[in-house]
Symmetry: C2
Subunit: 186 residues, 2 copies
DNA sequence: TACACTTTTTGACCTATGTCAAAATTTGTG
DNA sequence: CACAAATTTTGACATAGGTCAAAAAGTGTA
């Protein structure tokens, strides 16, 4: 079965017509580690679903590579600010493990929303969930020690250390790689 | 004119029936400074629109009062995690300036979504915007110095110092009140 | 198996910002 | 107006975690 269709069905009942149309529009692609799905300055046109693999978003701050977030399979990913507001992206999107992706464009989604009320609902529910997640993660994050932040992250992504290297994880938490290394060494 | 209806019309075309129904369902209330709209442990049942006034969300971390976010008029506010997932709230919602509020309950919104497709769309667009905002604010926030964080916040909320006291603002930024005071003193 | 490259760990040192306490200032109220 | 309460500022000092550099460990590949 199409994993993205299954994912959508977790949220809503999908009509047969909508299902068929999504499958026709969707772009299925295998992408190798290291490939960039989006560059800074370009506008994000597509919303990706990760069937398998791992992706990160990052940007350069004062010359340093700072990871913003890491996404495992069964995640929906784009640069929200850029995709939703049609503005140049402030971040890169990079594949960090060979990945299988399914994507549709922004414009295709607009058509689907209008054509199928259940997809409008899917959109609402999906965005709701993203908010609840973001809200939950950031709450109480400030004023945590480096160790506490790392432990919180492990609750959210128990297998993150298998998916991304230390430098990426450390910068997600706003701490240096050396500090994270010391924390892990107990 | 009803300010919340106007707000909705910024996002969608609202049918006359939907408009009438929202106005009938909506609870209009004046709330005094200091009142708590939601307590930790209780589930958020309502989505508020702030016509005038200021509201903050906060929680206690290691015995300290930590402000999570501050909302001025024309904001939509609830405890997202609690409201959307029907779980006990991890934060308080407190009125910090006498406010005029308009609210509907979660259940009322579910009915409205089903009854009026344009409101389902409103929901999607509203949540999209919240994501774009959150996404934008947090990006690059890590690895900033206390001064840079404060300057970033001022770009988002130019008049925040008029709405909330220093301690609230400092904890929003994850810095101590003393540090913020020193930054402002140049 | 060995070489080259990448990633992680360790060490030495330093600084931004936290903490605690008290003084100064501002705000609210009878 | 004057006092009490709340808020902000200032001072002295402590420390978590940053930086830079180098060593160690891990990984891929010919």
């Amino acid at each position: 079965m199409d994993p993205f269709i299954n994912y959508i069905k977790l949220y809503i009942d999908l009509s047969h017509e909508a299902e068929t149309e999504i499958q026709q529009l969707a772009l299925y692609e295998e992408v190798a580690k290291g490939h960039q799905l989006l560059e800074v300055g370009k506008t994000a046109r597509r919303l990706y679903f990760i069937v398998s693999g791992t992706i990160r978003t990052f940007f350069y701050q004062k010359g340093k590579d700072v990871t913003y977030w890491i996404y495992p399979e069964n995640s929906v990913i784009t640069s929200w600010h850029s995709y939703l507001l049609k503005k140049p992206s402030a971040e890169y999107i990079e594949v960090i493990e060979d990945s299988m992706l399914i994507s549709l464009s922004y414009d295709e989604w607009q058509d689907l929303y209008s054509k199928y009320p259940e997809l409008e609902r899917f959109g609402r529910l999906l965005f709701q969930e993203q908010i609840a997640l973001l809200d939950d993660f950031y709450k109480g994050y400030y004023f945590m020690t480096a160790k506490e932040k790392y432990e919180l992250l492990l609750q959210f992504f128990p297998d993150i250390t298998l998916r991304a290297n230390l430098g990426y994880i450390a910068s997600m938490l706003g701490i240096s790689q050396e500090t994270l290394s010391r924390i892990r060494g107990k």
